[in-house]
Point group: C2
Chain length 332, copies 2
C-alpha cells in the first residue's frame, strides 16, 4: 500500500489540471506538462449558484478529469484556471460580469478546496498562452491571439510570458480604436476594433442595413438575435451567397486585418493566432481577407512577411490547456 | 607612469559613451552607468561624406567628449549608438533614408575604429530607454515613449528591455491605424496616427484649410514649409490665438491621446513619455488635451489612472543617454 502510494505520487506529481471557467460551461483537462491530455471533464458553470457554488462545481469537474486520468486531485502538481475576468497576479477575479463576481479570490478558494497550488489568469490571456505553448503558436517566440466571438478578446505573449499590463487589465485588443468617432461599441466607446470585427459589432450593421430595407436571410430567420448570430447561421448564410452577410463578414475581416496590422506594427510578433466561434466556423473563408487587409496596413511593409497569421489549433481546449501551461510555468 | 595608467583604467572602465547619430547632428555624452554626465560633444553629421566619413566624425565626437571627461576612448567600458534606422541585434542599420545607408554595419565599424565594445539601436527606441532609465520614466516598470516631430516615432520598454519585435522593425507607434480610410500619411498608408499627430500630418490639414480660404499667420509667413513648420513658429501662433493653428494642434493632441489610449489598452505601461520638438515647445499647452482624449478612450476605464502620461525630462540628451544605457545593460 505504502509502495503503491509512493509510486502514484512519483507519477502523479508530473500532472497538472487546467480549468476553463466560462460563463455557461466549465471545461477541465488533466495533462502532463508537455500537454499530453490524460483526462477531461465538462460541467455547466451554473453561475446562479454564486461563487461558492461555482467553486464546488469546479472541484467536482477537476475530480472527474482526475478520475479519467487515474489519479486523485491530491496528486496534481498544480492547477491553472482561466476565468472571464481581469485577474490579479494572485488570482483574484477583478470583475466577471457574466458571473456576477467582483474582487473574488478564485485561486485562493480553489487552493484551500483542492489542497494544491492554484494560479489564475484571464481566459483570453491563458487561451493565447495555450496556443503559444501547445497550439498554432508552438515554436514561436512572441505571439498575439485574437478570439472573435460575441466580443473580441485576445492576449499577448512575449518571449514566453503573458503581457497583461502593470495592472493586469491590458491586452484588450478588441478595444483599440481603429476608427476615431466610428461605430458605437458594446463598451460604450466609438470605433473600437470590436465594433466592426466581432458578432456584436456586426449585429449593429445587420440591424442598420435591414432597417434600411436590405434583403437577407437574417430578416426571415425566426428568433434571431442580430447582436449574437450563431456562427453556424453565419456560415450557412455565407455559403448560400447572402449579400448582406457576405458584405458584413468581409468588412469585419478587413477590420480584423487592420487591427492585426496595428499589433504587428507595434509589437512585431512572429505569430498571430485567430480563434473564437466566428473563425472556427468561417476561418478558411475569411482568413485570406484578413491577411490581405493586414498586408496593406502593416508598417514597415517588410514586417508582414515576418509574421505568420494562422487559425487556432486548439479550439475548445485552448483556455483549459493554456491555464495548465500557466500552472506549469509557475510550478515545475 | 604604470601606476597612473592602472589608476586611470580602474576609474575609466566604469564610464560609457552614448552617441546620437541624427540626420544632421551628432551628439555624444560620456557618463557613468548611473547617468552622471562627465563629458559632451556635438558635431555635424555630414551625411554627404558617406558611411566611412560619418563614422570618422563619430569617432572624433566620442574623442572630444572623452577629452572633456578626462579619459581616452580606450578607457570606455562600452559605447552605445542610436541611429535613425531599424537596427538588427548586432547593430547593423537596416535602412536609414536620411543618411542613405542600407545594411550598414554601424556597431562593427565603430568597434574596429574605437577598439571597444559597441552596441546600436534605433534612435526612438534608445531614446525611450533613456527616459526609462534616467528621465521621466525613472522608477517605472514599463513605459511607452512617443516623439512628436516631423514624423511620429516611439519605443516600448517592458520590464527593463526594449520591445522592437522579432524582426527589430516594430514599435512603430506612429503607423498604427487610428482612422481606417483616413488622412494620407507620409508613409503612403491612410489613417496612421502620424497623419494626424505629427508635423507632417498637421501640414496636410494646414494646406487643405488654407487652400479653402481659411485665415492664419501661416498664410503670410514667408518661406514656410507647411509639412514641417518649426515648433517655435507653432508656439508663437498658438500664443497669438491663431484659430487654424489652435484647431489643428488641438486635433493633433486629441489623436495623440487616442493613440496613447490604444497603447495603454494593449500594453498597460505604468508610464507614457511624450517628447520631440512639438512637445518640447508646446507640451504644457497640449498635455491636458492629450490626457483628456486618452482618458476617454482607454479600456477598461480603470486603466487610465494606472498610467502616468508625462513630458520628456531629458530633451536633447534622450537618445545619447539611452544609447549609453543600452551599452550599460549589455556590458556592466
Amino acid at each position: 500500500m505504502a509502495k503503491k502510494k509512493a509510486a502514484r505520487r512519483k507519477v502523479g506529481r508530473t500532472l497538472y489540471a487546467g480549468v476553463d471557467i466560462g460563463g455557461t460551461k466549465l471545461h477541465t483537462v488533466v495533462a502532463r506538462g508537455n500537454g499530453k491530455i490524460l483526462g477531461r471533464a465538462r460541467k455547466k458553470t451554473k453561475g446562479e449558484l454564486g461563487f461558492a457554488g461555482v467553486m464546488a462545481r469546479v472541484v467536482a469537474c477537476v475530480e472527474a478529469a482526475c478520475k479519467e486520468a487515474g489519479i486523485s486531485p491530491k496528486d496534481l502538481r498544480a492547477v491553472g484556471v482561466g476565468a472571464p475576468s481581469a485577474m490579479t497576479a494572485d488570482g483574484v477575479a477583478v470583475h466577471a460580469p457574466n458571473l456576477g463576481w467582483r474582487r473574488t479570490p478564485v485561486a485562493a478558494k480553489l487552493r484551500s478546496l483542492l489542497g494544491r497550488p492554484v494560479v489564475g489568469g484571464n481566459d483570453c490571456d491563458v487561451g493565447t498562452l495555450g496556443e503559444y505553448v501547445f497550439g498554432a503558436g508552438k515554436g514561436s517566440r512572441s505571439l498575439v491571439g485574437l478570439l472573435v466571438g460575441t466580443g473580441l478578446g485576445g492576449g499577448i505573449v512575449y518571449h514566453g510570458a503573458l503581457i497583461s499590463g502593470e495592472n493586469h487589465l491590458a491586452a484588450e485588443v478588441g478595444h483599440m480604436t481603429v476608427q476615431v468617432d466610428g461605430r458605437l461599441c458594446s463598451c460604450g466607446h466609438r470605433g473600437c476594433l470590436e465594433a466592426y470585427a466581432s458578432k456584436s459589432g456586426m449585429g449593429r450593421r445587420f440591424a442598420a442595413d435591414l432597417e434600411a430595407g436590405r434583403q437577407s436571410v437574417l430578416a426571415t430567420t425566426k428568433g434571431i438575435d442580430l447582436a449574437n448570430v450563431r456562427s453556424g447561421v453565419l456560415l450557412k448564410a455565407y455559403r448560400s451567397g447572402d449579400g448582406l452577410v457576405r458584405d458584413v463578414l468581409a468588412e469585419s475581416a478587413r477590420y480584423l486585418g487592420i487591427g492585426i496590422a496595428n499589433l504587428v506594427t507595434l509589437l512585431g510578433p512572429d505569430t498571430v493566432v485567430i480563434g473564437g466561434g466566428v473563425y472556427e466556423a468561417l476561418g478558411r473563408n475569411l482568413l485570406p481577407l484578413v491577411k490581405a487587409a493586414a498586408k496593406k496596413a502593416v508598417w514597415p511593409p517588410a514586417s508582414y512577411k515576418d509574421t505568420r497569421i494562422v487559425l487556432s489549433a486548439l479550439g475548445d481546449d485552448a483556455v483549459a490547456l493554456g491555464a495548465l501551461a500557466y500552472a506549469h510555468q509557475r510550478f515545475h
